[in-house]
Each structure stands twice: as structure tokens, then as C-alpha cells.
């Protein structure tokens, strides 16, 4: 157990180190930050002074060391566009994104899990195939197109819902629908296979044979087992949820991280971009680590497997 936990932590640490190194290298391949910030009219003296002040004249390993130090202090420079510290810009966009992602995750679970269970309980029937078709469709229609269709239907034709911003709860409906549809499409398939797996477990079959009612077997024996295997895909689910939020925030002009990221990329506001990549990357790495550790706690089977 202890070694497995340590191994999970070690894997997360390596991924984190790789992420930081990649961002650092990416920053250095962008070209000379001096010309990017000072502009082309800068005199050679200006450039030299700038490089001295920012430590750009140091050898690569020293710069890397310095960069790690800056990261520890959360000192990631100022936004080229607004002049505010990048960390402030990032944190102010964090709230709206979390406000969007939490209800979306809830809706996804509330749609995806029941649909998956229904499909598993009726596997092989017409109902199962119908649900498969719906989920393939939900997955094939890209977020950005589905969002536009929602706007067209609910805002342009019916005039019911506002199209941009996050001022009232009405604003939440379409973004949540956009992300949750594609997420629930994938998640219901995962829930279906997890539930099928749970129903076919020997202990669940044995429960049937002991004469326990079908309802009881489904909800008290198969379902908890399915939930455990669903936990292992939670990390993947968080990743697709984040990707969905990036696109969807841009459709509905939601003032969150995704919108900030795309606007900063378009303006090549490098300090903000690197902070978002590092921030989102770290959150996901930590979330994945927690999922791994939690799986070890709730699923004793994982503890016994030694690789």
C-alpha cells in the first residue's frame, strides 16, 4: 500500500516536472522576449539592460533555476496586455470557470450514470442500441456547433435565454447544456460498461442465487462495484470537462479561464498563457493523484496487484 502510494506520488511529480520543463523550453523557443516586450525600436543598450535585469544573459541552467524560484514565489511576470500581475488575472478568471464546471459535472453525472445503468440493464435490446446511437451523436456533434445551435434555437428563434456573460442563473443553462451533452454521451458509455462489469461479477451472481431480489442486487451489490470502476475514469472525465469548458466559455463569452486563454493566445500574452497552462496542468495532475490514491483506498483489489 505504502509503495503503491509513493509510486503514484512519484509519477505525479515526474509529470509535473516535465510540464514545467516543457513550458520553460517553450518560452525560450518563442524568440527573444526583449524584442517582444520592448518592441523593434529598442536600442541595443535597452535590450542589454533588459536582459541583465531579467537574467536573460545567464546560461540556460541558471535561468532554469531562477525560473523554478520564480514559480515557487508565484511570480510569473505581468500581462503584456493589461500590465497587471499574471497571477491576479488568472485568479479572477478562476471563479467563473469553477462556477461553470461544478454544476456541469453534477448534471453530467445525473444524466450519464442513469442512462448507462438503463443501457446496461437492457444490454443487447433495442433500447440499448438506441442509447448507443444517441451517445455517438452527442459525441460527434462538436461542442462549438452544438452551442451555436442552442443559441440559434433558444435565443434567436425563441428569445428565451441570454447568449453571453454570466450575470444570472439563466446564463448558466446553455453553457451547461453544451458541455454536459457531450460529456454525458461519453460518460454514459463508461457507466454502461462499468455496470455490466458489476452485474457479471461472481459475487453479484452469487447474490442472485441466494435469492436476493433483483432490485436489491442491482442497487446494493452491482451498483457500488460499478461506482468503484467509474472512479478510475474520473481523471479522464475531469480532463474532457476542462477541454469542454475552454471551447464553451468562448462560445458564450463566459469570463473564465478558457476565454482568457484563447484571448491571451490570440494576443500572444505569454505570461498569462504560461500561468494558465501551469495552473490547469497542476490542478489536473493533483486531481489525478487524488483519484489514484482514493482508488487505492476504496478498491482493495488494486493494492494486491504488484507490477
Amino acid at each position: 500500500m505504502k509503495t503503491l502510494c509513493l509510486r503514484a506520488c512519484g509519477r505525479a511529480a515526474v509529470t509535473l516536472a516535465l510540464l514545467i520543463t516543457c513550458v520553460f523550453l517553450g518560452l525560450h523557443l518563442t524568440g527573444d522576449p526583449a524584442t517582444l516586450i520592448l518592441g523593434f525600436e529598442a536600442t541595443p543598450d535597452d535590450v542589454a539592460a533588459f536582459k541583465l535585469a531579467r537574467g536573460l544573459d545567464l546560461p540556460m541552467y541558471a535561468q532554469y533555476w531562477r525560473y523554478l524560484g520564480d514559480l515557487m514565489h508565484l511570480d510569473l511576470g505581468k500581462s503584456y496586455v493589461t500590465g497587471l500581475p499574471a497571477i491576479e488575472v488568472f485568479l479572477s478568471a478562476m471563479g467563473p470557470t469553477l462556477h461553470l464546471m461544478l454544476p456541469t459535472a453534477l448534471v453530467t453525472l445525473l444524466i450519464g450514470i442513469p442512462l448507462g445503468i438503463v443501457a446496461a440493464l437492457h444490454s443487447g435490446t433495442r433500447l440499448d442500441r438506441g442509447l448507443l446511437f444517441v451517445s455517438v451523436l452527442g459525441f460527434a456533434v462538436p461542442n462549438f456547433f452544438f452551442g451555436l445551435l442552442l443559441i440559434l434555437f433558444f435565443s434567436v428563434w425563441l428569445g428565451w435565454l441570454p447568449t453571453y456573460g454570466n450575470a444570472s442563473w439563466l446564463h448558466y443553462i446553455m453553457p451547461i447544456m453544451t458541455i454536459a451533452t457531450s460529456e454525458a454521451a461519453i460518460f454514459s458509455r463508461m457507466a454502461r460498461s462499468a455496470m455490466l462489469e458489476g452485474l457479471n461479477l461472481p459475487c453479484v451472481q452469487a447474490a442472485y442465487m441466494r435469492g436476493i431480489s433483483r432490485q436489491r442486487v442491482i442497487w446494493f451489490h452491482a451498483f457500488p462495484n460499478a461506482l468503484i470502476s467509474l472512479l478510475t475514469v474520473a481523471g479522464f472525465f475531469l480532463g474532457t470537462l476542462t477541454a469542454g469548458a475552454v471551447i464553451t466559455e468562448n462560445i458564450f463569452s463566459w469570463p473564465g479561464i478558457g476565454r482568457l486563454l484563447v484571448v491571451s493566445v490570440a494576443k500572444r500574452d505569454i505570461p498569462v498563457v504560461q500561468l494558465i497552462v501551469l495552473g490547469v496542468g497542476c490542478s489536473l495532475i493533483v486531481a489525478n493523484l487524488l483519484v489514484d490514491l482514493l482508488s487505492l483506498v476504496v478498491n482493495p483489489k488494486l493494492r494486491r496487484t504488484t507490477r
Partner: protein
């Protein structure tokens, strides 16, 4: 062959031929404006005309022509990106299978790393660092797909190395590159092609997403995603500008997905029967 797969194949061939023949069959040039025929709706609707079958946009540009050229760019990027991703992935996969040890661990670590972040964020970071351009976008598509090819080709090559033919070739004195390229690669090509059909819709969606966000393909080039993104601003007055390219994206990705699933099931059947 089920009807849905047949339908998907026909749709796909139709779209591909249309994209290839864009020069010949598009009625107008994609950039040709006609201010007298602005915001015309597609054919059966009131106010439409047969001369602009799918309608026109805010500058009177013919949507059919723009969609045809946009399809060509989108498919081209997806194809080039898929081929580049497969080359990179297979190379690294073979390298890992051949060298083992540290190289193997390093490749596996890179694969895990690639899967640990949502790819759209990696793609946006690359675009911010290096700016946009056709080469960059194709490279991004290659980085999007390489990990699955690498994992697959590594595992398949390791399995192939334990079979008789690889060791007999070694005994015959064939060099490693020859064994991998001329003998192992053709043996595992089937699996790689299946992976390609599974990967291709994702590649198209990635490019169209980036172009939709305005950081992918840049004007004067057109891609389906870019057309959709521009159409967003005219949803209230001219919904068809966005809906037509969007429908084509869905048709293309849906039919490739259906086809890929079908081919995979068939191949699974073949391997099970053997």
C-alpha cells in the same frame, strides 16, 4: 454491411471527392464578393436563388464555394497531421521496443505526459509560443495523435520480435531498420490503419475547434471551423452561414467514426476466428 455503414461510406466518398474537385465544381471563387447578393438564404427558402445554392454570406461570397475550399483545407490538415503523427509515433514506438530499458521508460513517460493534459490546452500553448501557420497547425495535429500510435506500435513490435520471423531475419544478417520497416511495419499496418480511422475524427475536430476559436487557420485560407466561427456573428440574421459548415463537420466526423468502428469490429472478428 449495415445500412448505417453504407450510408457513412457514401457520405464520406461524396465529401472527399467534392473537396478534391473544389477547383472544378465550385461555382465561384471562395473570395469573390458580390455586394448585390448579400446574405442570400440557401435554395428552397424564400428569397433564395439557384445561382447561390447554399446562400451567400455578409459580403455576398458564395457559401457552397467557401465550404468546398474550407473542406479541402480541413481534410488536408487532418490527413497531413495524421500521417505525420503516425510516422512520429511509430518511430518512437519502434525505438522503445528496440532499445528497451531507459529509452522505453522515457517514451512511456512522454506518452503518459501527453495524456495527462487536455490536448486543446497544449495546442493553445504551442500556438501562443510559436504563432500560427499551416506548418505549426499540422505539427499540432501530429503531436495530438502520436501517443496512441507509439503505444500501439511499441506493443505490437515487442510481440512481433518474439515471433520466429524477426529472429530468423536477424540470423540472416538483416539490420534493425530493415527488419522494422520492411517486415514488422507491414505486419502491423492493419492495426495502425484502424487506429487512424479512430483518430481521424478527433483530428478534424481539433483543427475546426482551433479555427473556430480564431487561432487556427488564418485568412485568406478558409477551414470549416473558421467559417463556423465567422458565422457565429451572423446567427441572428443569417443562420446558414454557421449551420452549413457545422453540418458538414458533423457529417464527416460521424461517418468516419461509424466506418472506423465497423472496420475495427471486422478486424476483431478476423483475429478471434483465427
Amino acid at each position: 454491411m449495415p445500412a448505417s455503414v453504407l450510408c457513412a461510406t457514401v457520405t464520406l466518398i461524396f465529401l472527399l471527392v467534392a473537396a478534391l474537385l473544389a477547383d472544378l465544381i465550385s461555382p465561384y471563387t471562395p473570395e469573390g464578393t458580390n455586394l448585390l447578393a448579400r446574405l442570400k438564404p440557401p435554395f428552397p427558402l424564400a428569397g433564395s436563388s439557384l445561382s447561390h445554392f447554399l446562400g451567400t454570406d455578409e459580403l455576398g461570397r458564395d457559401i457552397l464555394s467557401r465550404v468546398l475550399y474550407g473542406m479541402r483545407i480541413s481534410f488536408l490538415i487532418a490527413c497531413a497531421g495524421t500521417v505525420a503523427g503516425m510516422t512520429l509515433g511509430v518511430f518512437l514506438g519502434f525505438l522503445a521496443a528496440h532499445k528497451r530499458g531507459l529509452v522505453d521508460d522515457a517514451v512511456l513517460m512522454l506518452i503518459d505526459f501527453n495524456a495527462s493534459l487536455p490536448f486543446i490546452i497544449i495546442a493553445l500553448a504551442i500556438l501562443a509560443f510559436f504563432g500560427s501557420g499551416l506548418t505549426i497547425i499540422i505539427s499540432i495535429m501530429a503531436i495530438y495523435g502520436w501517443d496512441r500510435y507509439a503505444r500501439l506500435s511499441r506493443n505490437l513490435a515487442r510481440a512481433a520480435l518474439t515471433e520466429g520471423y524477426a529472429s530468423s531475419l536477424q540470423t540472416l544478417g538483416a539490420g534493425a531498420p530493415r527488419i522494422y520497416v520492411r517486415h514488422i511495419f507491414p505486419n502491423i499496418a492493419g492495426m495502425l490503419i484502424v487506429n487512424m480511422t479512430l483518430n481521424f475524427p478527433g483530428t478534424i475536430l481539433l483543427e475546426t475547434s482551433l479555427s473556430f476559436l480564431g487561432v487556427g487557420v488564418q485568412p485568406p485560407m478558409t477551414s470549416l471551423g473558421m467559417l463556423l466561427g465567422f458565422g457565429r456573428d451572423y446567427l441572428t440574421s443569417a443562420w446558414w452561414i454557421a449551420v452549413i459548415p457545422g453540418t458538414i463537420i458533423v457529417a464527416a466526423t460521424l461517418s468516419i467514426s461509424l466506418l472506423g468502428d465497423f472496420v475495427q469490429n471486422q478486424l476483431d472478428g478476423v483475429t478471434q476466428r483465427n
